[in-house]
């Protein structure tokens, strides 16, 4: 029965039963805390990754306009230059594009995006923007593709602003909410 004073014995004691309870409580509290920190980390990762994608699209624009690079090679170059989550998408798309002969670039881009999506912290808004862009990649002349790339970049910048706002508002909330939720579960079950 709980730890502390045991009636009739005049001494403090912690039985094996209570030890087990305390260990369980600590584990639940720890996992609640980690959950909160994980959510906060997702929130702080999202604007950074959006910025990476903006950079990637600007580099792609350079490759298309000034380098006249074919998409396969451009994707591979981008994959080598970019940091982790964005690089995976471009590498996957570049490999698939090099391997296939009969599928459209937009189709391959969509498939690569679906596959790599779980490694990013991005939400469906950014996904829609990138998929929209995929429809026009490698399909029309330079000017048209540049227009679509610029459009995607400006849309991503709007998303980045929203993501930064969200991060400022909810990051600290998730950090304390995780601990509190763990504490609540512990008290409910103790």
């Amino acid at each position: 029965m709980g730890f502390g004073w045991i009636p009739g014995t005049l001494k403090f004691g912690i039985g094996a039963d209570d030890m087990l309870k305390v260990i369980g409580a600590v584990l639940i509290l720890f996992s609640g805390t980690m959950f909160g920190f994980y959510q906060a980390a997702l929130l702080s990762r999202r604007p950074r990754q959006i910025r990476q994608f903006i950079q990637a699209l600007q580099r792609l624009e350079t490759e298309i306009v000034y380098g006249l690079t074919p998409l396969t090679i451009a994707f591979r170059k981008l994959a080598d230059q970019l940091p982790h989550p964005a690089a995976g998408l471009f590498r996957r798309a570049g490999e698939a594009l090099a391997a296939s002969t009969d599928r459209s670039a937009g189709d391959i881009w969509r498939q690569a995006a679906e596959e790599q999506w779980k490694y990013t912290a991005l939400k469906s808004g950014e996904k829609q923007i990138l998929l929209q862009l995929g429809h026009t990649l490698g399909r029309s002349d330079r000017e048209d593709q540049v227009k679509h790339l610029r459009l995607a970049v400006s849309q991503l910048q709007a998303e980045e602003g929203a993501a930064l706002e969200e991060q400022k508002r909810y990051e600290s909330m998730w950090k304390s909410l995780g601990v509190l939720m763990g504490a609540l579960v512990v008290i409910l079950m103790y």
């Binding site: 709980g2 508002r169 909810y170 909330m173 304390s176 909410l177 509190l180 939720m181 409910l188």
Partner: protein, 67 residues
């Protein structure tokens, strides 16, 4: 006796934690969610109190009705 004291501490702890969650959520502008958390906490505590009252009435019955 010991069990009853534990139950009271438990209810007090739930109250404190719920109040803290309410404050955090309200500060971050999620007031609807804060109210839901409070309502859920209230229901949980009510459930515990009802079960304690139930055992109290059963005890009274056994004392006065000589079952």
């Amino acid at each position: 006796m010991n069990v009853d004291v534990n139950a009271i501490f438990q209810i007090a702890g739930i109250g404190i934690i719920i109040a803290m969650i309410h404050t955090v959520l309200k500060q971050m502008g999620k007031e609807d969610m804060a109210h839901w958390v409070t309502v859920i906490g209230f229901v949980v505590v009510l459930f515990m109190v009802v079960s304690l009252l139930d055992s109290l009435f059963k005890e009274i019955k056994t004392i006065f009705l000589f079952q």
